[in-house]
Subunit: 209 residues, 2 copies
DNA sequence: CGTACTTTTGAATCGCATCAAATCTGGTGG
DNA sequence: CCACCAGATTTGATGCGATTCAAAAGTACG
């Protein structure tokens, strides 16, 4: 049954940032989670690696005191890559909204990585770029002021001091660890001072002088 | 000459978090950089992957306006993993202090990854864990207050609400994106309120109730 | 014993979060 | 086409928490 779904949705289920080999997609299954539903729990043995196509899945760690730390929020992308090398999950995964996922059995994943040199290189590349992206993100979030974070964002994510946003300013604010008001105000101040230009969804830094 | 150094320092040059195969270490070289010295520049073609054993190396991106964004700071660990899959460097690397590095030629690295399945799995594991660690770090830095970041740190890095620090509180403050004063004050307040216990270098959260 | 560094506390200031409200925008259905 | 709605954008006011500067006390090490 799942196989039928897979074939029917073949085009739709291909993870965009990392093409998976056909042979691997043939072994994958598509899952749908309702909002609030659980994908796995702490202690479970990982059997699949998941790719989130739509919706939102969160990795949560609950403490004995009932407090809850969010480890990762995925709206599109691979989930809990570390589960590939862990004997058990160290957190829970829960859908924050109705979500669609692709489940790839770990054994098939490892077999494909052993057998297919170009897929292996692509997967190494994905992980390496992810590490780089996250390191940059951490450096950015470590900056104290909204303006420094915004400038860092434009200089590291953009070309020649200019970026084009994918989403809204509000979502940018969240990724910068700021309230959206703080970002709007910072942008407004920089515009008034002639240090930035906003055209549609592109932000361009101007010469300081 | 370099080969002699390598053999002499064989024991000392093994990167601790990821044992490299002997055959690969035999091809590696040890470098020493003076503070301020350059390891590579933007546009250079990557020929090695570097492991920082001691000192401090920073990845920097300079804008045309002369501003400078720090992408990564490494005191111990691999540097610019993404260079393994890039045609050229997108940033400069500069030693912040006298530093010792191990340089592993990329061709040898790829050959070892193709040939040695257990090293391959170890390298996948290293990258996957690094992704996980960095995702958690980003979530933490996105929290608005010092207390939330500290609590998140203890709950995600520790066991059962308790961590033992490697370094100083001051360095913890930096990794939490806080001034050291802010961390000291937060710790002090939580201690006074009986919500945390500090014994030597271990921090333990207490029941909220 | 001196030096360098961490830890700690104080005071002043600044920037951000928060709450509130108004406007703008794109998309939907009547 | 227009009314309507949800969400994004924008501005204002307020308070809190963090940064910063400053200084003192503690600590490790040669």
């Amino acid at each position: 049954m799942i196989a039928v779904i897979c074939i029917a949705n073949r085009a739709a289920m291909t993870p965009d940032p990392l093409p998976l080999p056909e042979s691997l997609l043939a072994k994958a299954a598509v899952l749908t989670l309702a909002g609030g539903e659980n994908l796995f729990r702490r202690g479970d043995v990982p059997r699949n690696i998941y790719y989130v196509r739509a919706g939102e899945v969160r990795l949560l760690r609950y403490s004995r005191r009932g407090t809850c730390a969010v480890l990762q929020t995925v709206r599109q992308g691979f989930l809990a890559e570390a589960s590939m090398v862990s004997a058990s999950y160290h957190c829970d995964a829960e859908a924050g909204a109705e979500s669609q996922l692709v489940a790839i059995p770990l054994a098939e994943m490892w077999a494909a990585l052993d057998a297919d040199a170009s897929f292996r290189r692509a997967w190494f590349g994905y992980l390496a770029r992810e590490v780089k992206r996250l390191r940059t993100q951490c450096e950015r979030l470590g900056l104290p002021t909204a303006e420094e974070r915004l400038t860092h964002f434009i200089e590291t994510e953009g070309q020649e001091g200019s970026v084009t946003l994918n989403g809204t300013l509000k979502s940018l604010a969240q990724s910068l660890g700021l309230s959206h008001e703080a970002l709007y105000r910072t942008l407004g101040r920089m515009k008034r001072q002639g240090r930035i230009v906003v055209e549609g969804s592109s932000l361009t830094l101007l010469e300081a002088r």
